[in-house]
């Protein structure tokens, strides 16, 4: 822990990213207390510009809804979808990568052809197809993003595992009588954690962006406010009140940048080679 803190103090951008991400997370968790009630309710006169009214710091939209309340509640959807989809994608990716890299041969070939196929279909087109088949909803969005984003992790883990398989460490473990599962999980996985975490942070960032695009197109969960649906709300107002579309976009950018920076921070902290 002290090592982590020491590294972070040197790396200001990573620290800033981590702090911002924690802050966005705190706002998301606290949204029901910060802004009780439905963020879809009208609270004031429509189209109040930001910084005009102290009670409504970010102004209101076409229906007089508080933009700040929308952002806070939208953060819940963005972060939930981002982290849940990434967790599922990384889990599938690590499993597929381990199986393909460890067993090689036919298992490897068939798993890699499936990976090729999923990677060949544009993730967003695949997500659209899944939404059309399953109907819109948070669960569909999470599944759609997870299905299209596990492939990168699978490839990296496969390459790492197949290179580790040939090393002395694994031979030594075998002599000690360890089984495949134990070697994979207790010996190899900890050693390849840092590229996996870099990838995981990229997957979270992409998942947040894909969720916003789906809900911008009106294909997210119709019952929930999300940053993408708020931007869609502002689309028709560019001429009269551009801030309605601009503000949620800035929230997405801040969150995604801080996810990327925080990913670097966690990687640096976990890298055992860097530890003295």
């Amino acid at each position: 822990m002290t090592h982590f803190a020491r590294r972070l103090r040197r790396d200001v951008p990573a620290l800033a990213g981590l702090v911002t991400l924690v802050l966005v997370g705190a706002i998301a968790l606290a949204a029901p207390w910060l802004y009780p009630g439905d963020p879809q309710d009208m609270v004031a006169r429509p189209l109040i510009w930001p910084f005009q009214d102290a009670a409504l710091p970010l102004g209101t939209d076409r229906l007089g809804r508080d933009l700040a309340a929308g952002l806070a509640h939208g953060a819940r959807v963005s972060l939930l979808v981002g982290f849940a989809a990434a967790a599922a994608a990384v889990l599938v990716g690590v499993t597929v990568g381990c199986l393909a890299g460890w067993f090689g041969g036919l298992v490897d070939d068939s798993l890699m052809r499936v990976t090729d196929a999923v990677q060949t279909v544009p993730g967003f087109v695949l997500a659209l197809a899944l939404v059309a088949v399953m109907g819109p909803g948070v669960g569909t969005v999470i599944l759609a993003i997870a299905v299209s984003s596990w492939t990168g992790t699978a490839r990296v883990v496969r390459a790492e595992v197949s290179s580790w398989r040939e090393r002395d460490l694994v031979a030594a473990c075998r002599v000690m009588g360890m089984g495949s599962g134990e070697i994979l999980i207790r010996q190899i996985l900890p050693n390849i954690a840092s590229p996996v975490i870099v990838l995981a942070s990229v997957v979270v960032a992409v998942a947040i962006l894909v969720e916003s695009a789906l809900s911008f197109l009106g294909l997210g969960d119709p019952a929930l406010v999300s940053w993408g649906s708020m931007i869609a709300e502002g689309r028709g107002l560019l001429r009269r009140a551009w801030f309605v579309a601009a503000v949620p976009g800035v929230a997405i950018i801040i969150t995604v940048v801080s996810v990327s920076l925080a990913g670097e921070a966690v990687t640096a902290a976990l890298d055992p080679r860097d530890r003295q």
Partner: protein, 340 residues
């Protein structure tokens, strides 16, 4: 010989012969991929509640059960699943993607009508992203560690985090709504009666903003790759040799370093082909461009699964084709690829 009509084609012919191993490897990889994608779309169609006949009956405003079962027999929908899968694959082999119950037209016709617009947008965005990415990457690498480098890297980080549809809206806000320089959307001015060069210019004006919005993400990817490639090669023997010979700094940077560092960037264009096509889907709906993206969006809203699955298969074909083209470009630029 130079300038004689035969030279070009014979040159291309011998190049293709030399690059044949590259082409063959790609085609061999493409076959199982397409088969799996087709099986995937078949599975998705079966997961969905209702089948193609239900969709037709609903689109036709309801119908009787006898007609529905007759249609099912005609399309083989009453057969066992494995037979249906083989029938489906056979139809795909003949480029038969079925009929869209919403448009009441063959899916293939719907797709081929809209394909050129999406391909054009992907092409302009790639050209822009690669050129700007290369220039910024070289510029950052030349100032490695100094403020210009840091500024470019910070910009890359922020650009990567911007949702492309939001960038599109902000570009519309600035250049179309506020300044009035460029059109808000569409592929060309409706009923303008323009032809020839005037029409080309009109289309180009309509494509500027969508191209920018789609390309920005890839500018960020390419510039980081270019910068890393330049820094990797900076200590290579041929670069030190050039410096020792007294080749001017700028020339070393562009003629020696950049020419080699650009190869991974071009390879990246192939890797990113599927992300690019996915991005085009969103951008087309922001700028009301009547391409594949619009078709995909309309199909989701209308639950037109036949068209949507056709789009999934066609986009896989597009991505595979782009990868093959990028491989050939790599083989043309880098003899090592041909010899591999």
């Amino acid at each position: 010989m130079a300038g004689s009509p035969g030279t070009g084609s014979r040159g291309l012919g011998s190049f293709l012969a030399a690059a044949w191993p590259v082409i063959r490897r790609r085609l061999l990889l493409a076959l199982p991929v397409l088969l799996l994608v087709a099986c995937g779309t078949f599975g998705l169609l079966h997961l969905a509640p209702g089948d193609a006949v239900d969709a037709m009956v609903i689109a036709g405003g309801g119908g009787d059960a006898a007609l529905a079962s007759e249609l099912r027999a005609r399309y083989g929908l009453d057969q066992p699943l494995l037979v249906q899968l083989s029938l489906y694959l056979l139809r795909l082999l003949q480029f038969d993607f079925g009929v869209s119950p919403v448009h009441n037209r063959p899916v293939l016709a719907l797709i081929t009508e809209r394909l050129p617009i999406s391909l054009l947008l992907m092409l302009t965005a790639t050209a822009f992203a690669v050129s700007l990415g290369v220039v910024l990457g070289v510029s950052a690498a030349a100032a490695a560690g100094r403020w210009r480098d840091r500024l470019i890297l910070a910009a890359a980080l922020v650009i990567y985090a911007m949702p492309s549809f939001w960038v599109g809206l902000m570009l519309i806000l600035v250049f179309a709504v506020t300044l009035g320089w460029l059109p808000v959307g569409g592929f060309e001015t409706a009923a303008s009666g323009l032809s020839g060069m005037a029409r080309v210019l009109d289309i180009a004006r309509h494509l500027i903003l969508p191209t920018l919005a789609l390309a920005l993400l890839f500018v960020s990817v390419h510039l980081r790759l270019m910068r890393a490639g330049m820094l990797d090669l900076a200590g290579a023997d041929f670069v030190r040799m050039a410096r020792a010979k007294g080749v001017p700094r700028r020339r070393v940077l562009w003629a020696h370093l950049a020419r080699n560092a650009v190869l991974p960037v071009i390879a990246m264009v192939g890797v990113q082909a599927s992300t690019l096509l996915g991005g085009a889907v969103v951008i087309e709906s922001v700028f009301s461009l009547p391409g594949l993206g619009r078709l995909a969006y309309d199909s989701v809203v209308a639950r037109d699964l036949a068209t949507l699955m056709g789009l999934v298969v066609v986009s896989a074909v597009i991505v595979l084709t782009v990868t093959l083209v990028v491989d050939l470009v790599m083989a043309a630029l880098d003899p090592r690829v041909r010899l591999r």
